[in-house]
Amino acid sequence: MKVFSKIYLVLIFLLLYAPILVLIVFSFNEKGSFAAYTGVSLKWYRELFRDSTALDSLRNSLVLAVSSAAVATGIGTFAALGLDRMRLRWLKNSISAVTNIPMMNPDIVTGVSMMLLFVAVGGILQTDLTGFFSMLIAHITFSLPYVILSILPRFKQFDRSLREAAMDLGCTPAQSFFKIEFPHILPGIVTGFIMAFTLSLDDFVISHFVSSPDFVTLPLYIYNQTAHKVKYSMYALCTLIILAILVLLLLVNFVSGIGARGKRKKEIA
């Protein structure tokens, strides 16, 4: 039984990660082919870094990811604060449900509806809204629920008597928020930011609908490059992206791990 479960586990991981492993291995293949592995080389990485459109799209992606994550985290923090302070239970629940819709919606629906929105509003205003602006709005929209979901539980865990204790010791309500409550929810904010960042970085479907040719992000660029004929520098690019995402995920786990450990200690005490 034990052997069987081990084999099962190995199979699962193999299925999950074999494609990625193949991609990483072949990104170092000197000959641009799957047919033969002619030797380890950084040829495709060099080619990638000579490709200025690829680097532009990487820069676009990063700018978009950072700015949309920052705005979503800002809005999400205040939204979570508002939801936490809400007295009426039915209102609180229905607003939470509404904020979760962008998360449940299929990307294709969100993407098409966003495109229609930007085209319609652009038509009314007689301007072209597609580009960085439309991408920013779209990315904020789909990452917002994830931000709220990572911050709201921190608010719920917060012991309200701490707020009273802070006021008792001379804090104004604002001081008590920034000195006591904010440090408590900070891990949630950081997690939310990182999640929004990664979601924005790898979004393709929604971006595909709301982008314009003069603002292309990395996933769109890769899709364009591979749609007709496979370019091997794209394997190098994907490998780099996987590496970046891996680092971020480790960071997220580390940050939320700190929060969870603190909580566990308190429960034991």
């Binding site: 012991d159 006021m167 010791l169 001081q175 006591i180 005490a269």
Partner: protein
């Protein structure tokens, strides 16, 4: 005495969701006094404390501090600090930073903060714990940090909301003495909330007994114990036999079918009253020498005394005696005139006093044990 009044509550009324928690309450608290608000849960004692602390606003009535009305003064501007029931220590700050929190907010010079925090940690026995996080401390240590954090600000008044409720018995006794010592040393007015009558009697200068949002009695611990004003206070503070009686004339009370000489007076002739007799004030004597006679229905060994329940004409008395008496025997009882306390009838009359339910409770409690024993024997 009156110029010493530090806190005055006048006509305080407070309701939550239409349910009245405090009903037109008046209370004066003197400077440097150790006052305990005592009562069962839901009597309004914690709400009273929260109104003084500024965490609740009364629906009606005024709060005065040093002669000034402070109804609209927010909590962070009041010269009052609180020790919360669950300590409410800041989890992301270490012990030192927790204690220094209030001083830093009021921009006390850094050097002074250091000496005052150090002094306070010394006083509460927390030296060496400066760098520890609250989550790594035991309940008793957290309690001390909470006290130090409040006292270091040198408030005029310290509010304590059942601060020892979460500690075990031994630690609670130690902390009671500690708190009393700290109160003497600092001369700060303590307002202490508890439902533990023993705690209230042993620590306070003044006890305020509350029930149903109203103050039942204010007095020194001895007054409250010896001269309860009504059946509620008599029952809540210590054990007591509360009987229906009639004041025939001054110093003559009739109860349990007999007329007794007592020391109370000032009632109408033949006024119905409640009579309180403490279990330790009844002497067990031979039947022929007793004023009353009854049959022993249960005996419980309590360590330094026996607690016996005696049935006298259908009323179960509780008596504490150092001499053993066998169950089912008939004994005589003798009561000194000054052991008989007479109270006016109140809304609480007839609700307490008889120990018949008490003994049933005891039977009920011992039943599961008996069942378990049988099971074990079967195995």
């Amino acid at each position: 005495m009156n110029q010493d009044v530090l806190i005055k509550l006048s006509g305080i009324t407070k309701a939550f969701d239409g349910e009245t928690v405090l009903d037109n309450m008046d209370l004066e608290i003197h400077d440097k006094e150790f006052v305990t608000l005592l009562g069962p849960s839901g009597c309004g004692k914690t709400t009273t404390l929260r109104i003084i602390g500024g965490f609740e606003t009364p629906d009606a009535g005024d709060v005065f501090f040093d002669g000034e009305r402070i109804n609209d003064v927010p909590a962070y501007k009041r010269q009052v600090n609180t020790v919360f029931q669950r300590y409410a220590l800041f989890p992301h700050l270490n012990v030192y930073d927790n204690v220094a929190f209030g001083l830093r907010l009021s921009h006390v010079p850094k050097a002074e903060i250091e000496t005052r925090v150090k002094e306070m940690l010394e006083m509460t026995g927390l030296r060496g714990f400066e760098a520890r996080k609250p989550s790594t401390l035991s309940g008793g240590q957290q309690q001390r940090v909470a006290i130090a954090r409040a006292l270091v600000n040198q408030p005029r008044v310290l509010l304590l909301d059942e601060p020892l409720g979460a500690l075990d018995l031994k630690l609670r006794k130690d902390m009671q003495n500690e708190l009393k010592r700290i109160q003497h040393a600092t001369g700060i007015t303590f307002i202490y909330v508890t439902h533990d009558q023993e705690e209230a009697l042993s620590m306070s200068d003044t006890v305020v007994v509350m029930s149903r949002g109203k103050i039942q009695q204010i007095g020194t611990p001895t007054d409250i114990y010896n001269e309860p004003v009504n059946a509620f206070v008599a029952d809540f503070i210590g054990e007591s036999n509360i009987l229906d009686g009639i004041m025939i004339a001054d110093k003559q009370a009739k109860f349990a079918g007999q007329t007794f000489v007592c020391v109370d007076g000032g009632f109408e002739p033949n006024e119905p009253v409640d009579i309180v007799i403490r279990p330790e004030d009844v002497d067990v004597v031979p039947v022929e020498k007793g004023m009353l006679a009854g049959k022993v229905s249960s005996v419980t060994f309590k360590g330094d005394y026996y607690e016996i329940i005696v049935d006298i004409r259908g009323f179960k008395w509780m008596i504490e005696t150092s001499d053993y008496v066998a169950p089912e025997t008939t004994i005589g009882l003798s009561i000194d005139p000054d052991a008989i306390h007479v109270m006016k009838k109140s809304e609480y009359s007839g609700m307490f006093g008889d120990y018949s339910t008490f003994s049933e409770e005891m039977d009920h409690l011992s039943d599961p044990d008996a069942g378990q024993g049988a099971e074990e024997a079967a195995e």
